[in-house]
Amino acid sequence: MIEVKNIRKGFGDKIVIDDVSAVMEAGKCNLIIGASGSGKTVFMKCIVGLFKPDSGEILYNGRNYIEMTNEERKEIRQQIGMLFQGSALFDSQTVEENIMFPLNMFTKDPYHKKLKRVNEVLERVNLKDVNKKFPAELSGGMKKRVGIARAIVLNPKYLFCDEPNSGLDPQTSLVIDKLIKEITTEFNITTLVNTHDMNSVMEIGDHIIYMYQGRKEWEGNNKEIIFSKNERLNEFIFASEFLKDAKDMRMLEHTGKINGDRNIS
């Protein structure tokens, strides 16, 4: 479990994260949503330790990450897997070498054991016959899956995904979402996902935090979000007519009535 208490972060005069608190539970997909520039990525980078918050606490299973020594922080980081927006695979290494890298660095296992583990995680993310390929030879979706495979190869306790669906087609996005959800429940990982993608919100949002201009505006899950009366959230989530219709249909299904006086065509 990760607990964030009243964190603030600014760059110069600009406050990017303003007094945000949240609890991210294990075995759940915790989503941070919000418009571009709302502070999602900075929030996530504060939690993983790439940025140091100006104030507040970040607790990993009750231990304050900010006050830890470098050695203690290293220990926590070895329990973290992260999928980056651009996958962040090492260009000069093959898929197999990329995934084996954390194993080479942090284990003393023999090569055949490491290779077995690499093949296991590749199979887990539904990739075959890509061991000897370089990242430049892979599609966007495959790169993301290799990124996930590298992130989970050391059996992490915490998984962070920054915009896992950016640049992917809707079908591939669904595959990635499903994968993240399955891995989270299968290994009881605390997963935190930064996303803009409304499919992700509806499909895997066990716990959702909506951020607006650096502040936490709304918190709930993918069922509650349909019935939220928060105007900013509704404007952000149900931005198009199509999504507004979808929301109304879902409401009609659950309550037998529709908010406001909209007509569903």
Binding site: G49, R77, Q78, I80, G81, F84, A88, D91, N104
Partner: protein
């Protein structure tokens, strides 16, 4: 950003390199990879430059020695000393600042921009120790070696050109090479080689490691790394000459 802030950040980067490696074998592998990239990767250009610089030195020295009172073996002495004292360490390192420096800056810059450095940090790896340190150590091993190779090839290139152009006989050239030879000059060349190797690798690593932005900024930081390294080399060249050579 002021010069002092930049210098402070550079010193912090250097200080940050010193930590216990997460896995010594991986660091060793990275060091060997960098030795190959810096040493073998630059060997071709060093060979070409060195042979031609020696050859041109011989021909130009011969052109300027018009008096019959000066023995022809003096040509070899002049070529030997200019190559060892200045051409091999300084000229070659200026070229290496372009070849090796831009490579280091653009490699680290690309890793920074594509979040590969962040990915390593998240894994719990000290990226300054894993990415910067092996490059600096590899440069400190390979660049002085390249300077020695360059000096030998420069002197050989001078001999070859002198003989081919008919300005000096091989036996006279060889005789000139050993006349008044000061082994201290080789020591001085090596001191320069180590100093310039550190300048090239650390300055380029600094500009690459702290890149912000995209492809354009990577190009800009590579250029800046080369320019700053070249200026620092010339400055250090003067300081070393003033400190280590008895000019009175």
């Amino acid at each position: 950003m002021t010069l002092f802030t930049e210098f402070g950040r550079y010193l912090l980067m250097i200080k940050g390199m010193f930590s216990r490696p997460e896995n010594g074998r991986m660091y060793w592998k990275e060091l060997m990879h960098q030795c190959s990239e810096i040493g073998i990767g630059s060997l071709g250009i060093v060979v070409i430059i060195s042979v031609f610089m020696g050859a041109v030195s011989t021909l130009q020295t011969s052109y300027q020695l018009v008096s019959n009172l000066i023995p022809r073996s003096t040509i070899a002495q002049i070529v030997r000393d200019t190559v060892i004292l200045e051409f091999a360490p300084t000229l070659v390192c200026i070229v290496l600042a372009g070849v090796v420096g831009s490579k280091i800056a653009s490699e680290l810059g690309n890793m920074r921009v594509s979040e590969q450095i962040d990915a390593l940090e998240i894994m719990g790896i000290n990226t300054k120790a894993y990415l910067v340190m092996p490059k600096i150590i590899a440069a400190l091993i390979m660049i002085p070696l390249l300077v020695v190779i360059s000096a030998a090839l420069g002197i050989w290139g001078g001999r070859l050109a002198g003989v081919m152009a008919g300005v000096i006989a091989p036996n006279i050239y060889d005789k000139g090479l050993v006349q008044d030879f000061k082994p201290y000059n080789v020591f001085f060349a090596l001191v320069k080689g180590y100093t310039f190797a550190y300048i090239i690798s650390s300055i380029s690593a600094y500009y690459g490691y702290f890149v912000k932005g995209g492809a354009l900024e990577i190009g800009r930081s590579s250029t800046r790394a080369v320019v700053v390294s070249c200026v620092a080399i010339l400055f250090a060249d003067y300081i070393l000459a003033a400190l280590l050579l008895d000019t009175e």
